[in-house]
């Protein structure tokens, strides 16, 4: 089965969304959308509010079950699978992790513990040995803590290691969430509107962090965003959608010039005439 599917993704291709559709009560939120993400690429999925970006996002991560289409993904182990129909909690162990628009960190836990939570699927020991603190569970815990500390260091927040996440600034929390996705050594991370709630300076800073992460950890990044500043600055390629339909897919400079995209963002010229 999977050897047949391996032929469906060419080398260097990591995620291929084909003819994806989903509708809610007759409304087509996503209508026949296809795009392709390469390894180590920062890929932007853009569109105005209500374009269906988040629906595409939730279809990829299996929070929604699409009505039609295929989502081929090359996993950690190098085999190609169709994500459609997989369990939500199994997606992360395949090598695909997401963040949330409204930053879902556990406020009561320290930064370190939040990162360890991100490594939930990485432990080799059983729950019983974790509760009894058997040597193999302790070894797991040490290994994950070391991994977490390295990531915190890279993101420049190692000094906040043992502080509860609750009192931290929004910028730090965004970093924590990003750091947490790295715990499973993913092949691709999907960021849901990472610029939401950040000011211009913070957005620029965060864009740098994203690039740094990509270069250091050799992973692909899929950005779902409507903030053009962030997208145009760091994306290698961008796919624009509107009303659930595909508009264009190209390098940022070309997307900016694209007439359909301009219309989608600024409104059609005709609509100005009353």
């Amino acid at each position: 089965m999977s050897s047949q599917m391996n032929a469906l993704l060419r080398e260097k291709e990591i995620l291929k969304v084909s003819n994806l559709s989903i509708s809610f009560g007759g409304l087509k939120a996503v209508d026949d959308i296809s795009f392709l993400v390469h390894e180590k690429e920062i890929f932007g999925l853009i569109g105005p509010n209500g374009a269906g970006k988040t629906s595409v996002f939730n279809c990829i991560t299996q929070f929604y079950r699409p009505d039609g289409g295929e989502i081929l993904f090359r996993t950690n182990r190098g085999e190609v699978v169709d994500l459609v129909g997989k369990k939500v909690h199994d997606i992360i162990s395949l090598g695909l992790v997401r963040t949330f628009q409204n930053v879902e960190v556990i406020r009561e836990l320290s930064l370190l513990d939040n990162l360890l939570l991100g490594a939930h699927t990485e432990y080799k020991s059983s729950v019983i040995s974790q509760i009894l603190r058997l040597p193999n569970a302790k070894r797991d815990e040490r290994e994950m803590a070391a991994r977490a500390e390295e990531i915190l260091e890279v993101l420049g927040i190692l000094n906040l290691r043992d502080v509860p996440a609750g009192g931290q600034s929004y910028g730090v929390l965004k970093k924590v969430e990003l750091a947490r996705t790295l715990m499973t050594k993913p092949r691709i991370i999907i960021l849901d509107e990472p610029a939401a709630g950040l000011d211009d300076g913070e957005t620029l800073q965060f864009a740098e962090t994203i690039k740094q992460i990509r270069d250091r950890y050799n992973l692909a990044i899929l950005l779902v965003e409507h903030d053009m500043r962030l997208v145009m600055g760091i994306c290698d390629r961008v796919c624009a959608i509107n009303f659930g339909r595909y508009l264009a897919c190209d390098i940022p400079a070309e997307i900016q010039k694209n007439k359909h995209v301009q219309e989608a963002y600024l409104g059609e010229e005709e609509s100005d005439v009353d």
Binding site: H89, I92, F100, L109, L117, H120, V127, Q130, R133, A137
Partner: protein, 335 residues
């Protein structure tokens, strides 16, 4: 030098502190034997410790996992009746009784956990409340098993078939059980499964994205919680040596819930503290007072008032008063 370091490291481990608390608590009944405490007080403190064990179970459920149960008393009573029936009617040894009386309620708890996958919040509260009441009604109706309103008498436990405990021995057994329950709770909440419970309480969606299997951890939370509540039930029936349907009404469930909230959600020390406030203060102090002591149900009135005060002033429970004081001392010490 090296030795001192090792000792201070050992003292820093919370588990060492739980053992110290356990040992200190275990000396209480011998104070009574020495004539320093009244024996009624010993029985009261023993039952407070038992309620603490049940409280730890509810804290795992409500505090860490964000799930509510109002059927605690039913499950505790269920375990108590199984223990009573197996030891008194069938002559089972204590150890096997203990295993069965925990396993059977846990199975029922797992079923409730399965249901909790579908319903949440207030609906889960109502569902568990009715499970608890169904159990209590069964204690009244299943005369052959429970002896109904005549109640059942039980002996102090006999360990390994030869070692018959007296009241003090049973008290020590309770202290041991409480210490183990504290260590178990600590280990769970400070390891991978505990973090998964935290994530599940925060947001099921985010937890799933982290790879947490929600159904599995709901079942885990209900199993551990029911296990501790059932353990409390077995200890109760062997310590008080009596069980009666009226003991296991929803009033007890509410009191156990109250002790967790008053003491402090997500705090092991808080649970102990809460148990002393909810079950200790009314019987030790209030009933001795003139006028106030004569009010029927004064303990419920007291608990209600304490909950309101705590929720308004110390939403993290009265245990936070002590952590605040500790911080204050550190601050002034540094200044």
């Amino acid at each position: 030098m090296e030795k001192n370091k090792a000792i201070s490291l050992l003292l820093k481990d919370p588990r060492t502190r739980y053992v110290i608390i356990g040992v200190l608590v275990a000396t209480i009944p011998f104070l009574a034997t020495a004539g320093l405490l009244r024996s009624a007080v010993v029985i009261l403190i023993g039952s407070i410790l038992i309620y603490s064990v049940a409280g730890l179970g509810i804290n795992i459920l409500l505090g860490y996992s964000g799930l509510i149960s109002l059927g605690t008393a039913g499950f505790m009573g269920f375990a108590a009746y199984i223990a009573a029936y197996l030891t008194m009617n069938l002559g089972f040894p204590f150890e096997i009784t203990l295993l069965i009386s925990i396993a059977v309620p846990v199975l029922l708890g797992l079923f409730v956990g399965l249901v909790s996958f579908r319903i949440e919040g207030i609906y889960l509260a109502i569902a568990t409340l009715s499970v608890g009441e169904v159990l209590r009604r069964s204690f009244e109706e299943l005369v052959g098993f429970t002896n109904s309103f005549a109640g059942m008498r039980v002996n102090y436990p006999t360990l390994f078939g030869v070692w018959s405990l007296d009241r003090n021995g049973t008290f020590v057994l309770i202290a041991v059980a409480l210490t183990l329950a504290m260590i178990l709770t600590h280990n769970i909440v400070h390891s991978r499964p505990g973090r998964a419970l935290h994530a599940m309480r925060g947001s099921t969606v985010a937890a799933q994205a982290m790879g947490v299997n929600i159904l599995r951890y709901r079942l885990f939370a209900f199993a551990v919680s029911t296990g501790l509540v059932a353990l409390a039930g077995v200890l109760y029936v062997h310590f008080v040596r009596f069980t009666h349907p009226d003991i296991w009404g929803w009033g007890l469930s509410l009191n156990i819930l109250a002790l967790v909230i008053i003491g402090g959600l997500r705090s092991i020390y808080g649970t102990l503290l809460g148990a002393f406030v909810v079950f200790g203060i009314p019987s030790l102090i209030l009933v001795r007072l003139p006028i106030i002591g004569d009010i029927p149900g004064v303990s419920f009135v007291f608990n209600g008032i304490v909950i309101v005060i705590v929720v308004l002033l110390y939403p993290r429970g009265i245990v936070s008063i002590f952590t605040d004081i500790g911080k204050l001392i550190k601050k002034t010490g540094r200044a």
